[in-house]
Amino acid sequence: MASNLGGASISQTDDFETFTPTTDVEPLKRAWRNEKAAPEILPYEASLVGRIKEQIQAMEDSIEEYSRSGIDPLIVSLYQMDLDRIQFLLRSYIRSRLQKIEKYMLYILKSDELFRRLSKEEITFTDRCRHDMKKHFDESVLSKLPNNYQDVLKQSITSEEDDMVPEPPLDTFVVCKSKEYLEHIQLEDEEERASSRIEEPFEMEANVLHIIRYRPIKSLVESGRIDLL
């Protein structure tokens, strides 16, 4: 909801909702925020990253040209600042993803859903990291343990499932906002509803901050209808 206070139209909401995004900076900023705030890795924004890298390259070339052609360094520094800002966003976005991969690599490799969200290079990275990590565990611990207890994913061969894999904490609470009014959000799982915690489904007003558990809104974040802050 935008409020016009005098000349400047400063809105309660994020700026990109009040004017149409014509640059890739806003989508990158959004991707960066969501990735930082989400407990699990989100789908990779391949085309966005591709375009941003091109724009960065073009700007680096321009800046070099401006410097050479004697444009006031103070003005050139403005272009440099713009470039620095977008480079920070891009690097932080990629870093955030890598750190999640490092933390949950075993789980990601086991989950089709999450695995599909990786870029090609990230897949290679994850694979190799897992190899390194497994080797490290084998050498440090597992090879020294008795047979039947040497698996990295299971506590022992009597375990029914992989019970030693760290999982992303989907039940953590996140700050979020929806662009539109959303109704019928199920906050509880089947079992919880059965034990009657909350009767009606939750609804979210547009552009109001909420703190909710991530798991129930997971798919809304992935589809872009809810943003994390």
């Binding site: 400063i10 724009q55 520094s77 272009y79 713009d82 470039l83 019970d163 999982e167 039940d171 703190i211």
Partner: protein, 211 residues
């Protein structure tokens, strides 16, 4: 990692919140002619003396520092407007006085880098501090009503910086409530990475009082 704070709780640094705020648009009044700037984040200008135009905050401050412009303080940052808002906040129980989401960061940046463009700066600053206090207390009150049936919290009228500050407290509280209410439903991912329970957090002021 044992002893390390949960990364979910220290998501954005204060610098990062400020960084986002720096993209907010505001008006400048150039004092000289300047060509357009074709930045990745948008095209701005051309700039003519005394003709006001909108640019992102970071650019406004940079231009001002380079002696190219004066910054037009946003209309909400006037003594008159802020006094109105403060009075309305004090009188009302709810909050329907609208300030930009980044009002705290925007005003701080202007105080730090463009104080001569802010009329009655000290008064404006103290009014903003008062508004923050009143709003924060309202939020505290609503947070106190979090109980075992709470599964979501609505936040209204906090600036981005305050959301960032309040986040760890509220998230931890809601997490604790959720865990205690549903011991079977919380996946035990702590088994390997955290062999001991979370320690009690450092004695920071918690806006939440248990009944």
């Amino acid at each position: 990692m044992a002893g390390q704070s949960d990364p979910q709780l220290n998501l954005f640094s204060a610098e990062e919140v400020e960084f986002v705020a720096e993209d907010e648009m505001l008006e400048i009044v150039p004092n000289m002619r300047m060509d357009s700037l074709h930045l990745i984040c948008g095209d701005y200008g051309p700039f003519y003396p005394q003709i006001a135009t909108e640019v992102p905050l970071w650019l406004a401050i940079a231009l001002k520092k380079r002696g190219k412009c004066a910054i037009r303080t946003p209309e909400w940052m006037s003594v008159e407007k802020l006094t109105q808002i403060l009075e309305a906040e004090r009188d009302s129980q709810g909050s329907f006085q609208i300030l930009p989401f980044h009002y705290v960061e925007i005003s701080k940046l202007l105080f730090d880098h463009a104080r001569d463009d802010v009329p009655d700066m000290y008064l404006v600053r103290s009014l903003i501090e008062d508004i923050r206090d009143v709003r924060f207390h309202k939020v505290e009150t609503s947070l106190e009503s979090i109980d075992t049936r709470t599964s979501a919290v609505k936040i209204k009228d906090l600036s981005a910086m305050e959301v960032n500050i309040v986040r760890p407290f509220v998230v931890r509280a809601l997490q604790a409530i959720y865990k205690h209410g549903n011991p079977e439903l919380v996946p035990d991912q702590d088994r390997i990475t955290n062999m001991q329970t979370q320690g009690h957090e450092h004695g920071q002021r918690r806006p939440l009082r248990r009944r």
